[in-house]
């Protein structure tokens, strides 16, 4: 919810560098200036690439590669040696490269000129000393930004202090910019149509992220109600953060564990102070990627132990390596698949490479056996679609010495399956007796249920986890969990939205795992939830026809 004044932003299509600000010195000095600027851009990109969302992170890794590319570097060096300033050389060489790419015959490759321009923009910003997105940096507080679309570069220069809301004429909620804005906590709505770009700047407006709309010049009464809502949200946040380290208990006395999702060692910086009860989802891909050999058992034990210690919680949930054709690793043969999301990934891949599976399981069992270990190691099996896959994992486990002793009721080792394929939800009553817990991955469950790719902006809105079809599958998994008396956790993005918690609780979810910044908010949502009311809400939601109806149940006007 953002309330402020409209400002129309035009992303400059081709930055022209003003020669007025530069003073050319010797080529050696100019080259040094270029290297300094490159170092700063490199650091900037490295930081951006460390972001939680792997979809976004990848763009910045590619941009880093472009930044250090020989064509760019040699071109700039040659121009500087001819007596050009570092800034002009950068401007010239990147423009030439952009031109070169634009002239390529193949559209995909031609459109990569955007990426070169993006890197050029960053370099020039440092070289010229004036920010080329000065427009964005200099916005007054309380600005509502209107734009056709924003580049990732633009988005990383937004300041949450001044920009209180964004309305984009184009773009879709999954586009990179939207993901970036969300991570900054700026309310953003998309696809509002180009008409908004004609709105006179300076008008009062509200970006209502809850209802997904832009209200221009709201009448005093409506503005008042928006102001109150915003105030309520702010108060909620403040209250939540002051109780972040206390347990979350519902009004009817149910303790709900609120865990954190972790993608990398760096994420632990945020987790430590978040108030998380433990780790509900450690994605282990970071240990396996960007290297030429898989990590050894000893390396893995060290990595898991470190995370568990830093989290200082009871439970450490480790998802087994979940890779597939879209994110290959060097030491496994590359599999050509026309649709990697329906291909050999997760447990399917691990069962084809038993040595990888065994090593990871062995490391996790060993951690639970260590003398200083306190708590529970939960092993989470990804991408399960058949009961036999669980049987096969259990067979591998049973062949590892020590497994049986560790895996006892009340012991330090538990095995669970990820419910992220509709087949797993439908067979949840068959899976539940075999395992110790469920974890529902709603991002994939939604996209597989709706047959809609969540990174394809044309269909992404179909893949809403609030769709009654998805909710029914979540409900089935919860029911099966309840029958078998095992915890049912949820770890998709939807769990991080505090307004959705009552619905999930009503469906039978017993634990949640969310990104670190959401832990306090979701804990507070737990404290405001009443079991009976939640179950009633879930009942209504399961009878809805579409996601929008469910949305209205959660946010009554």
């Amino acid at each position: 919810m953002g309330i402020g004044k409209l400002y129309t932003y035009t992303s400059l299509p081709n930055v022209t560098y003003s020669a007025a600000v530069e003073q050319s010195t010797s080529p050696a000095d100019e080259w040094q200036r270029y290297l300094d600027a490159r170092k700063k851009v490199d650091a900037e990109l490295a930081q951006l690439a460390g972001m939680e969302n792997p979809l976004v992170a990848d763009i910045f890794l590619v941009h880093q590669e472009i930044l250090h590319d020989k064509l760019l570097t040699d071109g700039v060096r040659a121009a500087i040696d001819r007596g050009t300033s570092a800034a002009t050389a950068t401007q010239q060489v990147t423009s030439e490269l952009v031109q070169l790419f634009q002239n390529l015959s193949d559209d995909y490759f031609a459109s990569r000129s955007v990426d070169i321009r993006d890197v050029g923009q960053r370099l020039l910003a440092h070289l010229s000393g004036v920010s080329l997105t000065g427009q964005l940096a200099a916005l007054p507080t309380g600005t509502i930004l209107l734009a056709e679309d924003l580049t990732p570069y633009d988005a990383t220069h937004l300041s949450p202090e001044s920009v209180v809301g964004i309305a984009l004429a184009g773009s879709a909620p999954t586009a990179h910019t939207a993901i970036l804005a969300r991570s900054l906590g700026i309310p953003l709505i998309c696809s509002v149509g180009t008409a908004v770009l004609q709105l006179p700047p300076g008008q009062n407006a509200v970006v209502d992220g809850l209802q997904g709309r832009l209200v221009v010049e709201p009448d005093p009464e409506l503005l008042d109600s928006y102001t109150q809502t915003r105030q309520r949200l702010l108060t909620f946040r403040v209250t939540a953060e002051s109780h972040s380290h206390e347990p979350a208990v519902t009004l009817d006395g149910q303790r709900v564990l609120v865990h954190a999702n972790v993608n990398s060692q760096e994420d632990m910086l945020q987790v430590a102070g978040s108030g998380a009860d433990g780790i509900g989802l450690l994605r282990t891909e970071y240990l396996f990627q960007e290297r030429t050999n898989p990590p050894t058992v000893a390396e893995q034990i060290d990595a898991y132990r470190l995370i568990h210690r830093q989290a200082a919680g009871e439970i450490l949930t480790v998802r087994l390596l979940d890779i597939g054709g879209d994110k290959p690793v060097r030491y496994l043969p590359r599999i050509a698949e026309s649709n990697p999301f329906l291909g050999v990934r997760g447990i399917r891949l691990l069962l084809q490479h038993p040595e990888l599976l065994r090593d990871q399981l062995q490391a996790l069992i060993a951690l639970s056996q260590e003398s200083g270990f306190t708590g529970v190691v939960r092993i989470l099996v990804p991408m399960v679609s058949k009961v036999v896959e669980v049987h096969r994992v259990l067979e591998v486990l049973e062949a590892i010495p020590g497994y049986a002793e560790q895996h006892q009721p009340g012991g330090p080792l538990q095995i669970g399956v990820m419910i992220e394929v509709p087949a797993a939800a439908l067979l949840a009553d068959r899976l539940a007796p075999l395992v110790d817990f469920f974890s529902i991955g709603t991002n994939d469950l939604a996209q597989y249920t709706m047959a809609a790719d969540r990174v394809n902006s044309a269909v992404a809105s179909l893949a809403s986890p609030l769709d009654p079809a998805v909710l029914r599958l979540i409900g089935m998994a919860c029911q099966a969990g309840q029958m078998a008396d095992i915890p049912v956790a949820i770890c998709g993005e939807m769990a991080g939205d505090p307004s959705i918690f009552p619905l999930l609780f009503g469906l039978g979810v017993t634990e949640v795992s969310v990104v670190a910044p959401a832990v306090a908010l979701v804990k507070e949502a737990v404290r405001l939830t009443d079991g009976d009311a939640a179950r009633q809400l879930a009942e209504q939601a399961l009878q809805a026809d579409r996601a929008q109806e469910v949305h209205r149940l959660l946010h009554p006007q």
Binding site: K70, L71, L72, L104, S105, R330
Partner: protein, 100 residues
């Protein structure tokens, strides 16, 4: 797995020079992310490595440059000729072949 790409034993041409042909298997072609991986792997080797898109009769480009690789405009099914020269040329080609 693609036999043609992984079954390649790089053919020694002269001294420390080796070459191999690979077929692009990715339905999206040799896109930015794969190219980034190719550059990163190639850069771990001392050998000079070039690629040429035989399907487009392109010029030879430096495999250690992402901007040059992109100019191959390699689509699924395109055949690329990789050539490496240097002490670790054969290893470099072996490591690269599986990426396409």
């Amino acid at each position: 797995m693609d036999r043609a790409n992984t079954g390649v034993s790089p053919t020694p041409t002269e001294g420390n020079e080796h070459s191999a042909t690979v077929t692009v298997k990715d339905p999206q072609g040799l896109h930015l992310r794969t190219s980034k991986d190719v550059v990163r792997v190639a850069s771990q080797y001392q050998a000079e490595i070039t690629a040429q898109n035989l399907s487009r009769s392109s010029i030879q480009v430096d495999v250690k440059s992402i901007l040059q690789l992109m100019q191959l405009q390699a689509r699924q099914g395109h055949v690329l000729l990789l050539q490496a020269a240097g002490p670790d040329a054969a290893d470099a080609l072996n490591a690269l072949c599986v990426l396409f």
